[in-house]
Symmetry: C2
Subunit: 215 residues, 2 copies
DNA sequence: ACCGAATTGGACTTCTCAGTATAGCAGTGA
DNA sequence: TCACTGCTATACTGAGAAGTCCAATTCGGT
């Protein structure tokens, strides 16, 4: 019974990853769902690894936490594939909205965001790093696209594409983020995503489209 | 020297409040700045009260926390004084924006919000209560006003004043809340508040004003 | 098959913190 | 003067968690 059976029995997929990768994965999950207060024992158990191994790989809880953040930041690298430069701004915007709802508004991502907010009190640089790798990237990429569209005469941001980009993302986010952060999660159906994304694009085009009326 | 001098020496303003009120005040401050993880000893010290008194007044840390939340919720009761019903929607909206920047975007309020977010993982009902006493009230009051304006033909929300209200508040909040939550605080000057509030009102009116163009 | 390195499980130390217990002190009312 | 009540100060208990130590085991490369 000894070697073979016990080895085979425990071969979950996670066992195939290196200890370090498994720890990072488990740590991300545990920190996300329990906040920085999870015990190292709990993380070790979740990673299916002994506590000592955990401390061999990462010297301390703080180190592990920061390594996990860095690991995830590498993944976060923004989407916003500037795929079609040819499309009508309205369609492009609706698409961005859709993408946003699928990625950034998932329960998973909101949980991660909540955890970062909590940690940013204890580790201020974490908050800054997250902001610069996430929201800032996003808004700047969008602003750049808007600036291009403005030169083409298809948008009119009044010379402040950054603020316009902020506004669009704010429209998309709406109260959804607020509710998510406060733990009031409501799954959004694809059709609801579609409706909201289109609505935001319409609203934005009315406000920043090329033919706007004054006062 | 004994009685008079010692009593007089310690008479800070906070000494004039009842022990209970002092504790609530100190607890609010400590929870806000340190999160739920502050020690009861620290709170007792901040309230200038012995630990035992603290436990006499509030049976446990959780009870104290919830009492503090309830105490503050009573204060939060929304502004949005529907003062002038006569004013042009644009001015009304700009005013709401200004008020919002002054109250809800203060470092103080953001810190409180951040703390609630952290606690809502541990105490889910806290998150819900905060949402319903704060953001929800706000958006519903605004939606009600918008609905009235729509009947008067001075706004056109396309029949969804709630979503329009959400949109306006999102515009106002923008990235400011995000940055605040992540600890990247940047004081906003009154003129900056003014500029942003006006800008948001203009944008909103272009999108939801009465004479909108279609597609 | 063998050796060194990594891993394991668990006991152990030290610390912090919620909550309790105790003993004394200060004001109040009769 | 005396009992009563509420507060202070401080020591204490018990639980949980970070981090360490160590003997036994397993794994990877040769």
């Amino acid at each position: 019974m000894s070697r073979h059976s016990s080895a085979a029995m425990q071969l979950t997929p996670s066992q195939l990853l290196s200890a370090r990768a498994r720890i990072l994965e488990a740590a991300a999950e545990m920190f996300r769902t329990h906040g920085y207060d999870v015990s190292m024992d709990a993380i070790a158990a979740a990673a299916n690894v002994s506590k000592q191994t955990l401390y061999n790989q990462f010297g301390s809880k703080e180190d592990l936490f920061k390594a996990m953040i860095a690991d995830r930041a590498a993944v976060m690298r923004a989407p916003l594939n500037a795929s079609a430069l040819e499309r009508h701004p309205r369609d492009m915007l609706a698409d961005i909205g859709r993408q946003y709802y699928q990625h950034a508004c998932s329960e998973h991502e909101i949980g991660y965001y909540r955890m970062i907010i909590g940690a940013s009190q204890q580790f201020p640089d974490i908050g800054r790093a997250y902001y610069e790798a996430g929201p800032k990237q996003m808004v700047e990429a969008l602003a750049q696209w808007m600036s291009r569209e403005e030169r083409l005469g298809r948008l009119d941001t009044g010379g402040d594409p950054l603020l316009a980009a902020e506004h669009f993302l704010s429209l998309v986010t709406g109260q959804i983020e607020t509710r998510g952060l406060l733990g009031l999660w409501a799954e959004m159906s694809p059709s609801e995503m579609e409706r909201r994304a289109r609505f935001c694009a319409d609203v934005f085009m009315r406000a920043f489209g090329p033919h706007r009326l004054m006062a």
